[in-house]
Amino acid sequence: MARAPGRLSRAGRVGLWLANLAAIAFLVAPLVPVVLGSLHAEKALQQNVRSLLVSPREFTAANYRLILSGGAARGPIFEQVTYLPKSVERFPSAFLNSLLVGFAVTVATLAIASLSAYTIARLGLRWTQALLRMSVASRMIPLIVLMVPLYVMFRSYGLLNSLWGVIAAEIGFLIPYAVLILTPYFASLPSELEDAARIDGCTRFTAFLRVLLPLSTPGLAACGVILFVISWHELLIPLIVVSRPEFMTLPVVLAGLVSDYFVFFTLMMAICLLGLLPTVVLVMLLRKYIVRGLVAGALKG
């Protein structure tokens, strides 16, 4: 939308270019060290503390080979290394756990929240409107406030150290947000088709299931991706619920690198890159949908 009128002067064009380049630098620059660091052996990093390490001749894929093989493929660089962080060994199973939790949380939250959002968007009862306001308010509860009591509760129900506990807590935490994203989307769709379906003998529920939901695929997809991203990023919930390695999700395994003073930075950056890749690729591919979902979730409340 070219809103500022007229053509640009040469100075204006240069200024706008520079401003854009600065913005791009802000958005991208912090990721450059991750890529460069992950492509080096730790020796190169330590020997050359003043160089920016950008020469492609020194690049190696040894870090990635080590991580993706769960610590098995050591190669010449890691052959002599006596200590490997636990995170390397735990990476593959943590990746799978994160995927599993992400999918389960996304599907369950979408299902539950779409039922609620439908009543808020279409029925306009006073108490369902209050539900929407409650969803806005509950987004402002600090997660740590929930985690203290949830830990004690899960402990007595035997939900500690299981993916079920993680999934349950994340679903509860995400439902209000999903309702906030889906309600304006449902409300933006015309209700005539559902009315027509109901005249043809559909109940409210079948009209929702067979008419509204299929029409809402883009909105559901946007909401779903956002939920998956948040679940993939979630650290505090699994950190507190899970302490056994086999149930750790990726953020917990990554957090294990923090207190590890012997860890190689190059190896750490490679793990980081593999950890951020799934959501970054997903978000870049589905950018347009996500933007709409995020804006709706923030502004329509």
Binding site: I24, L31, T119, P142, Y151, V152, I171, I175, L294, L299
Partner: protein, 306 residues
């Protein structure tokens, strides 16, 4: 066709019971994972709860002992002060940087604006814990890229120990956090800019308004409602910052970057595992966040509505 034939099926549920049934799953989840835990946190905060009590399952009544202990703890007050500083600085930066980038991206007369636009969500997609780890690498005194770059550009001779001094460490954590969270604001402001009708600018142009006047008297007032929303959201989220603290400084050096969420976490889930005290501090944090959003909503929405 008679009027009655157009009416939906008679066996159908009425709107009231139907909406109750539809909301049952959500309400069940929310009461189990949100409402009950909050009430339970209040219960825990007035009882003595540590590892020994967790094992026996009996929590002795403590009255307000946890709260008195909390308010006597200088580290708690320090954490609160750090949280306010953190929130104030990071929210201000988020708003200003996001506003600048949103305005730049909105001008489509150079094609590169489309590239910038495509990259807005990139930092948002990075997991917070990864964000912390990558910035801890950037800021590392010996091997970090910040010192490498500053040295290459000739700004420094001696390496700066970014995470070793209290003021710089807080700045480092804020930088990392702001980088990850600013994109959300850019999106909101960008969406709001797109909603401003072009005629307004044309009219201003006819009147011979300068670019600055256009921004000051058209763009900014129309953006204000969205800025208000972002202020509420970003402030509450800044009060919950945890991942970047854990991964960059772990509260250090000393306790220079202890914030409220970190305090609650450390007290409850690391030695001394004092869950009663943790619940008390969690409640205080929740009340502060709730109070701040209430003040915001009242002050800002009223002004915006005018």
């Amino acid at each position: 066709m008679s009027q009655s034939a157009r009416r939906p099926r008679r066996s159908e549920m009425r709107a009231g019971p139907f909406s109750v049934a539809m909301n049952l799953p959500a309400l069940l989840c929310l009461s189990l994972v949100l409402a009950y835990p909050i009430a339970y946190a209040a219960y825990l905060s007035v009882h003595e709860v540590n590892l020994r009590h967790l094992r026996t399952g009996e929590f002795p009544w403590a009255g307000l002992a946890n709260f008195t202990r909390l308010f006597d703890d200088s580290v708690f007050w320090l954490s609160l002060r750090h949280t306010f500083v953190f929130a104030l600085v990071s929210v201000a930066l988020e708003v200003v940087i996001a506003l600048a980038i949103a305005l730049v991206v909105d001008d489509e007369r150079v094609w590169i604006a489309r590239v910038t636009r495509a990259l807005i969500l990139l930092p948002w997609a990075v997991p917070p814990i990864v964000n912390g780890l990558l910035w801890s690498f950037i800021f590392h005194a010996q091997y970090g890229y910040l010192n490498r770059a500053l040295h290459a550009a000739g700004f420094i001779d001696e390496y700066v120990n970014w995470l070793g001094s209290p003021g710089l460490a807080m700045g480092a954590v804020i930088t990392a956090y702001v980088w990850r969270t600013t994109p959300f604001n850019i999106l909101l402001y960008h969406a709001a800019l797109q909603g401003i009708p072009g005629e307004l600018y044309e009219a201003a142009d006819v009147d011979g308004a300068s670019a600055w006047q256009r921004f000051w008297s058209i763009t900014l007032p129309l953006l204000l409602p969205v800025v208000a929303v972002s202020l509420v959201l970003r402030t509450t989220f800044a009060f919950m910052v945890f991942d970047e603290i854990l991964s960059i400084t772990q509260g250090g050096p000393g306790n220079a970057t202890w914030v409220a969420a970190w305090y609650t976490y450390r007290i409850s889930f690391q030695p001394p595992f004092n869950i009663g005290l943790g619940a008390a501090s969690a409640w205080v944090l929740a009340l502060i966040v709730g109070g701040i959003s209430l003040v915001y909503v009242r002050a800002l929405y009223r002004r915006v509505a005018l």
